[in-house]
Amino acid sequence: MNRLQRAAVLTALADELRKRGSWCGETHLQKTAYFLQELLGVALGYQFVLYKHGPYSFDLHDELTALRADQLLELRPQPYPYGPSLLPTAASADFRARSPRTLGACRRELDFTADKLADKGVAELERLATALFVTREMPDGDAEARARRINQLKPHVSLDEARAAVAAVDRISREAAAFAE
């Protein structure tokens, strides 16, 4: 995908998340884009490393900034003391209307991702995305081993929370596999 195609997909992702009630801050976009790329196979081309609140892409971080400069995303402050949202602009709707082929090719993946994740808060998204990261790192690891690895990597995530996240990611992965067929 080139930069403008990625712009269409990212603003569509933000739009779908928002329509389903997501807070849609940067963490929400980072983690849902991670699922979109790594689980659903949409070739955004970002490299994710384990960093802030789980898998994180510095390239995506830059791209979200570029989308603000391009008037396709806008920073929407939220009432004190909460962090801001990054929302698609009116101009981005027009831009997406000019990207029918790009969006047509990943519409189902966008909807699936938003359906599964739009209602999650940042803490839960961190746990789920980290669980997916660890599952990809340990494809043969059983649920308990993966939960322990999450707890080791992110000590503020308790073992019980990690176990729940692994179970949820396994469930979403099964649905994604069935959906892909």
């Binding site: 080139n2 930069r3 403008l4 195609q5 712009a7 269409a8 997501s22 807070w23 801050g25 940067e26 963490t27 490299q47 490393v49 384990l50 960093y51 802030k52 609140h53 510095f58 971080h61 830059d62 791209e63 979200l64 900034t65 570029a66 603000r68 400069a69 391009d70 008037q71 396709l72 920073l75 402050p77 939220q78 009432p79 004190y80 003391p81 909460y82 962090g83 801001p84 990054l86 101009a91 027009d94 831009f95 000019r98 990207s99 029918p100 082929r101 790009t102 999650k120 808060g121 940042v122 803490a123 839960e124 961190e126 990597l153 992110k154 000590p155 503020h156």
Partner: protein
């Protein structure tokens, strides 16, 4: 008796103090080389006093890194939840070790810079190389390893690497929360001391006063804090650098300083086009058109050798890179034909490319250059603020300045001065057909 603390005068920090171990790094070949790498490449052609070097900047970064470390690890400033997330903060031996690593990493963070710093890095290094990778290779080199291992207690070279280049560049290394925070002290988007020092120093040397801000107050109010909440079902708890409420205005001033320095200095059109001419010269002048990544060769390459080659090529039309060198030396740089603006962006975010491609056909590829830098970092520009009542708030929720700070992006098309008049008339005629809404391909 040998001195244990060495003092170096500095126009920004008055004195930079370093111990004998740090002095060994200062005296090493990789660090001394920085005396010959200009901080701002050819910016002195636009701002004549901007001739300062990476050497003094690196000393400044070390000085500030030490100050920030002392402030954010001060016992009374660390909350219990942060202590639980970062056990290293309660271990005095660990604190002493990491303070040393942090200052060494700050000292070494720019050792991998090529001649003329960022001017030509992307195109003139082989794929998968950048200055951070060279920095890493230098820190891990036998020459530097001998220094790390000779200290008491020794420093682990990979710890220095992690903090010097940060998680963005060391993607193969796993960072603990503590290491993330320490790397953020040096290279962080919001409060990295690399940025603090270069803004203050570049402002001082260019004479552009907008780059100044109250870094004393800002540093005194820095804290390790949980992130701001989003109120959507459980806040994340992973800590980051933030400020006390009393430091918000200093943080605003830092962000404004950055904005003004980018608009006035770093993205100045003439400065940008001199970088392009330098890149063209180097591509023709260097063996194979690339800088070497061999460390010995890297350590022998400075601005001085390039300047000699540049002046030589400018005088002699038979030398590789003559035309680009001549344009730099004789100040015959290309002129701005097109510059990004909001109306065009609304039609086509890559309007500059459309103009560039058509202009290259109309006036010849050798007479037209495109300079496109999408913005980096600061997607949100938010950070946690510790309020007087103990709550953690979003800086963007508190500050009109932060929420309205423009995002900068460069998109210039330059044309040779002898063709500029024709090109300008051509663009007036073609503009509407070149810049229009079209389907994303």
């Amino acid at each position: 008796m040998a001195k244990k603390i060495h003092e170096i005068r500095d126009p920004i920090h008055v004195f930079v103090r370093l111990n004998s171990d740090e002095r060994k790094v200062l005296d090493s070949r990789p660090f001394q080389r920085l005396r010959h790498i200009h901080q701002l490449a050819l910016t002195s052609l636009v701002y004549p006093a901007a001739t300062h070097k990476r050497f003094e900047h690196s000393l400044g970064v070390m000085e500030l890194a030490g100050r920030v470390f002392d402030v954010v690890t001060y016992k009374d400033s660390v909350s219990d939840p942060i202590r639980r997330s970062i056990p290293e903060i309660d271990d005095d031996d660990s604190l002493r070790y990491w303070r040393r690593v942090l200052r060494m990493a700050a000292l070494c963070h720019d050792t991998g810079h090529l001649p003329f710093s960022h001017a030509a890095e992307k195109e003139l290094l082989p794929a998968d190389w950048n200055h951070e990778r060279l920095t890493r290779e230098i820190i891990l080199s036998p020459e530097m390893k001998a220094i790390w291992e000779g200290m008491t207690p020794p420093l682990r070279p990979l710890d220095v690497v992690k903090l010097a280049v940060g998680p963005r560049e060391a993607t193969d290394l796993t960072f603990t929360t503590w290491e993330d925070i320490l790397a953020e002290i040096i290279v962080g988007d919001a409060f990295g001391v690399d940025r603090m020092d270069y803004l203050l120093r570049d402002s001082h040397h260019t004479g552009v006063a907008y780059g100044r801000f109250d870094h004393f107050r800002l540093i005194d109010t820095l804290r390790i804090l949980p992130p701001p909440s989003t109120a959507d079902g459980g806040a994340a708890t992973e800590p980051a650098l933030g400020v006390e409420e009393g430091g918000v205005h200093s943080a605003e001033a830092l962000m404004l300083a950055r904005y003004f320095m980018y608009t006035q200095v770093y993205f100045h059109a003439h400065r940008r086009v001199y970088d392009i001419h330098l890149k063209d010269f180097l591509a023709a002048w260097l063996d194979g058109g690339k800088f070497p990544t061999d460390l010995e060769k890297h350590l022998c390459g400075t601005d001085n050798e390039v300047y000699v080659g540049l002046l030589d090529a400018a005088r002699d039309p038979t030398k590789p890179g003559h035309e680009a060198a001549r344009r730099i030396v004789e100040h015959q740089h290309f002129k701005v034909l097109y510059e990004r603006n909001p109306d065009d962006v609304a039609k086509d975010p890559e309007a500059g490319r459309a103009v560039f491609e058509a202009a290259a056909v109309a006036f010849g590829a050798e007479s037209v250059r495109h300079d496109r830098i999408p913005p980096k970092g600061e997607a949100v520009g938010d950070f946690p603020v510790l309020m007087k009542d103990g709550r953690i708030a979003s800086a963007v929720a508190l500050s009109d300045v932060l929420r309205n700070l423009p995002v900068l992006s460069v998109d210039f098309v330059f044309v040779a001065p002898e063709k500029w008049k024709d090109a300008e008339a051509w663009l007036r005629d073609k503009r509407a057909s070149l810049i229009q809404k079209k389907e994303t391909q």
